[in-house]
C-alpha cells in the first residue's frame, strides 16, 4: 500500500466519522438524557445513570416521584392511526395519482394545486375552521376525525408523489402489454404497478411519517379525548427533559423501522431490473 493510498483511506475514515457525528450527534444527547437520573451542572456526563424513566414510560413501573405516566397507550394509538392513514390515504392516492398522470382530467392542475393547499398556508386557521366543521358533524375529539385530518395533511405527498411516479412511466409500456394480449387491469398490475412500486412506497413513507409526527392539527381536532404520542410529549412531559427524550426516541422507532422495511423492498426492486 502506497503512502498516498494510506493517506486517502485515513481521510475517508475521518470524513465518515464526522458525517456520522453530524447525523447521530444530536440523537446521542437524547440517549444520554433519557438515562440520566441525576445530572447537575457543570458535569459533562450524568452522575447517576439508570432506566427509571424508560420503565416509567413503558409502564413497567409506576413511581409518583418521577411523575410522568405510561406512554404505551399513546404510542399504540399513534401507530394505529398512522397505519390506517397510510392504508386509506394510499387507497385514495394511487388511483387519484394514476388518473391525474394518465388521463386528461378537466382542471387536473387545479386539483393537484388544491392538495397542496393545506401545506401552503399557515395551518392554524385551516385547523380552527376544520374544528368548527368537525364539531358540527361530531368528528371532533374522535379517532376517525384525527385519521381524516391526517389523511388530509398526508395526501399532498400521496397524490403528488404517486402522480409524478406514474407520469414517469412511458405509456408505451402499458400499450405494449395490451398489444400482446393483456387486459387493461392486467397491464396495470403486471407492468405499471411493479415499475411504480419504489415511488408508491416512498410516498407511503411520507404519509406514515407525516401522520406519526402530526401535532398542530391533532392538537385542535383530537384533544382532549384523543392524545397521540406527539401530544403526550407536549402535554405530560412538561419540563421533564428525561421523559421528553424517551418519547422522542420512541417516536423514532416506527419511522426508522418503516424506512428500513421500505429500503429492503426497494433494493429488491432495483436488483430486479429497475436501475
Amino acid at each position: 500500500m502506497s503512502m498516498t493510498r494510506i493517506l486517502k483511506k485515513t481521510l475517508e475514515l475521518v470524513l465518515l466519522v464526522l458525517c456520522i457525528l453530524a447525523v447521530f450527534g444530536p440523537m446521542m444527547s437524547l440517549v444520554i438524557w433519557s438515562v440520566a437520573q441525576t445530572w447537575y451542572w457543570p458535569s459533562a456526563l450524568p452522575q447517576k445513570v439508570g432506566f427509571d424513566y424508560w420503565k416509567q414510560a413503558l409502564g413497567v413501573q409506576k413511581s409518583m416521584a418521577i411523575g410522568a405516566v405510561s406512554i404505551v397507550p399513546a404510542f399504540l394509538l399513534s401507530l394505529s392511526i398512522a397505519v390506517v392513514t397510510v392504508v386509506v390515504g394510499m387507497a385514495l392516492a394511487v388511483p387519484a395519482g394514476y388518473a391525474l398522470a394518465k388521463y386528461r382530467i378537466p382542471f387536473g392542475g387545479l386539483i393537484l394545486f388544491l392538495f397542496l393547499m393545506p401545506n401552503a398556508f399557515p395551518q392554524q386557521p385551516i385547523f380552527v375552521n376544520l374544528l368548527q366543521t368537525f364539531t358540527r358533524i361530531g368528528l371532533a375529539g374522535t379517532v376517525p376525525g384525527v385519521i381524516l385530518l391526517h389523511i388530509l395533511v398526508g395526501l399532498v405527498f400521496g397524490v403528488w408523489i404517486t402522480s409524478a411516479t406514474f407520469r414517469s412511466i412511458p405509456p408505451s409500456l402499458e400499450e405494449a402489454a395490451r398489444s400482446v394480449g393483456a387486459t387493461a387491469p392486467k397491464a396495470f398490475y403486471r407492468i405499471t404497478l411493479p415499475l411504480a412500486a419504489p415511488g408508491l412506497l416512498s410516498s407511503a413513507v411520507f404519509v406514515f411519517i407525516t401522520s406519526l409526527d402530526e401535532f398542530t392539527g391533532t392538537f385542535f381536532i383530537g384533544l382532549p379525548f384523543v392524545s397521540t404520542l406527539p401530544l403526550t410529549l407536549y402535554s405530560s412531559s412538561g419540563y421533564n427533559m428525561q421523559f421528553a427524550s424517551v418519547i422522542a426516541l420512541i417516536l423514532l422507532v416506527p419511522s426508522v423501522a418503516f424506512m428500513l422495511l421500505i429500503q429492503r423492498v426497494l433494493k429488491a426492486e432495483y436488483v430486479g431490473g429497475m436501475g
Partner: protein, 363 residues
C-alpha cells in the same frame, strides 16, 4: 396471416382532422410503408389499427373480422414502438414470454417458442439479460421478437429505427425486410425516412394532412410522382415550372418562363398544361469537358451548359451547386474528377428520370 382493410377512416383531435376518410388495403403478407412528414396522419393510422385510438367514423377489418370496436388485446396485432417499450423490470425471456403467458400456454411450449424467436432475431443466449444490459439495436430486436412471437395477423411498426444511429439503422432495415420475408406477416410500417421506406417496402403510401397523396411500388413513387408534394418528399428536388409545349406518349416537352426547354416524363398532360419538372441531383449527368467523344451534339435533348457555383467534397462523391442562368441546380459527381467553382460544366438530364408533375399540390 390476413389482409388489413381500412375503410373511410376519419379521426379528429378537437378541430384538427388527423385522418380524412382514409381507404387502404394491405394484402396478405405485404409490407406497406406509410410515409410522410410529422402530422401527416401516419401514426394516427397505426394507433387506430392497434386499437388505442377509436375512429370517429369508418371501419377496420383484419381478414373478415371487423375490429373497429375491439380492444387492443383482442385484435391479434404485434406492435413495435419507436422507444422499444421493453419492460425494464423483466428479463429478455420474461419480456418475450409475457404475451404467451397471457394466452395460458404451458411453460414448456413458452420456453420453446421464446428460444425459437430469439433465433430469428439472432439473440440466442440473451434470455437472462435485462433490457438495460443490451445495446439499442439489440433492444429493438427484442421488441421485434416480442411482437412476432405471438404470430400476430398484423405487424405494426412505428418508426422502429429512428432511435438508432445511421450505421445500425441501415443494417436493421435489411434485417427487418429479411424477417418479414421469412415470416410473411402482413405489415404496416410507419416512417418519415424515405430511404428506409424505399429499401423495405413492397408498397409505399405517401400521406399528407390525413389523405393519401399516392401509393405504389418504390420505383413508381420515385419515377412517377403524382404531384409536387410526392416529388418533393422523395429526396432533394428542384422544381422548374413551365408550360407543356408538345406531348409524345409519356414524353412531354416543357418550356419554362426563362425560355429553357426540357423533356420529361408524365402522363395525362395536354399542350398548355401548367406543370413542374422535378429535377433531382441523382438524375443529372455531368458530362466531361466540351469536345469529348461521348458528348452529344450541341442542342441535343436536355443538355445544358452550367457554371459550378459551389462544390462540396463528401468523400464518396462531390456535391455541386450549379448555375443555369438564374436557376440553381443540385448535382452529384464522381470524386475522381472534381470541378472547381466557376468552372463550366455540361450536364444532361435523362428524360426518363425527369418526372413532370402538375403545378399544384392537389392530388
Amino acid at each position: 396471416m390476413s389482409e388489413l382493410r381500412l375503410q373511410n377512416l376519419t379521426i379528429r383531435y378537437g378541430k384538427v382532422t388527423a385522418l380524412d376518410g382514409l381507404d387502404l388495403v394491405i394484402h396478405d403478407g405485404e409490407l406497406v410503408t406509410l410515409l410522410g412528414p410529422s402530422g401527416c396522419g401516419k401514426t394516427t393510422t397505426l394507433r387506430s389499427v392497434s386499437g388505442f385510438l377509436v375512429p370517429e367514423s369508418g371501419d377496420i377489418f383484419i381478414g373478415e373480422r371487423r375490429v373497429t370496436d375491439i380492444p387492443p388485446e383482442r385484435r391479434g396485432i404485434g406492435l413495435v414502438f419507436q422507444n422499444y417499450a421493453l419492460w425494464p423490470h423483466m428479463t429478455v425471456h420474461q419480456n418475450l414470454a409475457f404475451g404467451l403467458e397471457m394466452r395460458r400456454l404451458p411453460a414448456s411450449v413458452i420456453a420453446e417458442k421464446v428460444r425459437a424467436v430469439l433465433g430469428v432475431v439472432k439473440l440466442e443466449g440473451f434470455g437472462d439479460r435485462f433490457p438495460r444490459q443490451l445495446s439499442g439495436g439489440q433492444q429493438q430486436r427484442v421488441a421485434l421478437a416480442r411482437a412476432v412471437v405471438l404470430e400476430p395477423d398484423i405487424l405494426l411498426l412505428d418508426e422502429p429505427l429512428s432511435n438508432l444511429d445511421a450505421l445500425l439503422r441501415e443494417q436493421m432495415r435489411f434485417e427487418i425486410a429479411q424477417i418479414h420475408k421469412r415470416l410473411g406477416i402482413t405489415t404496416m410500417y410507419v416512417t418519415h425516412d424515405q430511404t428506409e421506406a424505399m429499401v423495405i417496402s413492397d408498397r409505399i403510401v405517401i400521406l399528407s394532412n390525413g389523405r393519401i397523396m399516392q401509393q405504389g411500388s418504390p420505383e413508381e413513387i420515385y419515377l412517377r410522382p403524382a404531384n409536387k408534394f410526392v416529388a418533393g418528399f422523395m429526396g432533394t428536388t428542384t422544381f422548374l415550372s413551365g408550360t407543356v409545349s408538345s406531348v409524345d406518349g409519356e414524353r412531354c416537352l416543357i418550356r419554362t418562363a426563362d425560355g429553357l426547354e426540357l423533356v420529361g416524363s408524365g402522363r395525362g398532360f395536354t399542350v398548355g398544361s401548367r406543370v413542374s419538372a422535378a429535377v433531382r441531383p441523382e438524375s443529372i449527368e455531368l458530362l466531361s469537358a466540351a469536345g469529348s467523344a461521348a458528348t452529344a451534339a450541341p442542342g441535343a435533348v436536355n443538355r445544358f451548359e452550367t457554371v459550378v457555383d459551389r462544390a462540396f467534397f463528401t468523400g464518396e462523391l462531390v456535391d455541386y451547386q450549379l448555375r443555369l442562368g438564374p436557376i440553381f441546380l443540385r448535382a452529384r459527381g464522381d470524386a475522381s474528377r472534381i470541378h472547381r467553382a466557376e468552372e463550366r460544366v455540361s450536364i444532361r438530364i435523362d428524360p426518363a428520370r425527369l418526372p413532370i408533375v402538375p403545378d399544384s399540390d392537389a392530388a
